[in-house]
Amino acid sequence: MAQEEVDKAITGEYNLGFEIDIEQDTVPPGLNEDVIKYISNKKDEPEWMLELRLKAYKKWLTMKEPTWGKVEYEPIDYNSISYFSAPKEGIDSLDEVDPKILEAYDKLGIPLEEQKQLAGVKVAVDAVVDSVSVKTTYSEELKKHGVIFCSISEAIKDYPELVKKYMFSVVPMADNFFAALNSAVFTDGTFVYIPKGVRCPMELSTYFRINALNTGQFERTLIVADEGSYVSYNEGCSAPTRDENQLHAAVVELVAMKDAEIKYSTIQNWYPGDEDGKGGIYNFVTKRGICEGDNSKISWTQVETGSSITWKYPSCVLKGDNSVGEFYSVAVTTLAQQADTGTKMIHLGKNTSSTIISKGISAMKGQNTYRGLVKIGANAEGARNYSECDSLLIGSHCGAHTFPYLESKDSIGQVEHEATTTKISDEQLFYLRQRGINEEDAVSMIVHGFCKEVFSQLPMEYAVEARALLELTLEGSVG
């Protein structure tokens, strides 16, 4: 991103809140078996998939919405939500994407034409609008390397064996209330398979856009990295500015085989609602990866600036010996946003190691909670964890909370936890301003300093975006 774009980004409020003016096919609100059949039918799915969906739905009906998170919201009426909405044109042919959608993605800075590249770097994009993937770029080029990069809907039809084997293998269909809901009604998302020994030749990414009113987005992503392979995957998202809350309940599953590495980065910028807590996305997401094979590695990096409520815990199951799990997070809550986020590191294999770096920033009336679990299994000899949870407060109406949990049968592991809470002081701001740095820049300088370790984990072009986004998000939160 060029400096002027960064500058532009700093001068607005939520600036991705436009609506794409397209005709959409939207199923009436409500959830029942017919709706699930409708979704499955719309996607032309094989029978086995529909059966799994219905099974998940039956389980979901018996489950209760979790209440342990440190977030408050009015009860969600699951029958007032529409579970499928798709742009009318351009679903069948990749070449016939509605120009208005192309234009919208252009406005979001996401190139859907292969010749346009993000910061001069080739990035393959899967573009999802509401319930469908509208375009996937570079699929052909990737195929030459044996890499499968397509929408999950296509994968269900074209690679049923892979999907059957791995879907629900990391996040079981009834893992939790929202995961079960997703398993029943998931609409689109991305599928990635990296074959043995292949280093994916470019960054892969998905950009999720909520557009339709009163519609939930339930995407499902599955990434499988076979032995000795490597992939770096990034996801971004945004939604229109609206007074109503919208639900986004996604599931992401990662599988890393022996010697494989998956680097998963998220820049989450769903509409956050206004300062009174009106509107915004409920972001209730289940993300989990399994380091199946020895010496495998899964690294989650997230920059969470949007959503009115965030409930998400990207986790790693470290099953293979010597496997490595990492979680790097910046979560910002300003306005009236609430975030309850963190990770779980489940050490099962020997000499497994995990690192957790969590940076929570709260401003205005924002409430930020870190919730993390480190679990050392009975056979995880030599397991190691390092956790660092830092909170930064801007102003005095916001809050930060930290809940680290440790479960360890014996003292066979080595666990270190550090936590700090700091407040940007007026004296610090004044010092920088006395040197000629304006107030906004002074705040962002302090905030960036605070987030440095996490940003350095992002791929370069996304790090620039994350920085700009952070500035935009915290604009006007001081003074």
């Binding site: 610090q428 301003r433 000629g436 740095i437 304006n438 302090i446 300093g449 605070f450």
Partner: protein, 250 residues
């Protein structure tokens, strides 16, 4: 002689407490003015008032800098126009890289003056030579701003910023406190090199020691929120011998 900074009948308070009680002071271009006075007299409050610190509420009077009243201006505007304060107690800012901070500040000022910004290489070259002049530890430049610096290191860092920012009016609030003799010498040399016949200095201290190194042109005595006496360098010796009480009030 042109007066670059004029403090006119300045009354100011911190919280509910009146601290500056009708203070008058004029700084001449190119001269070194020293302010001396007992602890609690209002010296730091004066320096804060000049640079627009949020603690200080001006209730009466005016601050005129380069012929314009600046008492309503934002701190960064005053800074960009060439006012610099070396803080008595510089604050620590974790996570903010010292060199990065300083380059941002230098470039903000250059931009304000319509000059090209310095690229990283140009900036580093400049900064390195100044660090050597100051006898400052090189590693300090890649640390977080002032974090874990010793008292002397913080003061050297203030002087480094002063040298890089090339201000027009430099206020040094007790730059000498907490410095050993070598540090005092290095810091004073840095300050003396900045003298160019145009730049003005306001050296605030309550020890005369630093005035052996930075030769003042004028001495002002601040007591109970007012300048009670102004004289030449010879006043230092008198104050040293007889104390502030000898001067009585205005």
């Amino acid at each position: 002689m042109s007066k670059v900074l004029k403090i006119k009948d300045l009354k100011a308070k911190i919280g509910e407490k009146d601290i500056l009680k009708g203070l008058n002071l004029e700084l001449e271009e190119g001269k070194v003015h020293a302010i001396m006075g007992p602890n609690g007299a209002g010296k730091s409050t004066l320096s804060k008032a000049i640079v627009g610190h949020y603690d200080v509420e001006i209730t009466d009077g005016d601050i005129v800098y380069k012929d314009k009243s600046i008492k309503e201006n934002e701190p960064e505007e005053r800074a960009l126009e060439g006012l610099f304060l070396s803080f008595q107690n510089p604050v620590e800012i974790p996570g903010v890289n010292n060199a990065y901070f300083l380059r941002t500040a230098v470039n903000a000022k250059r931009k304000h003056e319509g000059k090209e910004e310095l690229n990283a290489a140009e900036f580093l070259r400049e900064m390195k030579s100044k660090i050597e002049e100051l006898g400052m530890k090189k590693e300090l430049i890649n640390r977080s701003l002032n974090e874990g610096f010793s008292g002397g290191e913080k003061k050297r860092n203030e002087i480094l910023q002063m040298m890089m920012l090339e201000p027009d009016v430099i206020i040094l609030d007790e730059i000498d406190s907490g410095l050993d003799i070598d540090a005092l010498r290095a810091v004073s040399e840095g300050i003396n090199k900045m003298k160019d016949g145009k730049r003005s200095f306001l050296v605030i201290t309550h020890y005369s020691r630093i005035l052996d190194y930075i030769k003042p042109d004028y001495i002002h005595v601040l007591k109970d929120g007012q300048i009670v006496h102004t004289g030449g360098p010879e006043l230092v010796e008198k104050l040293e011998k007889e104390g502030y009480e000898s001067l009585g009030s205005l």
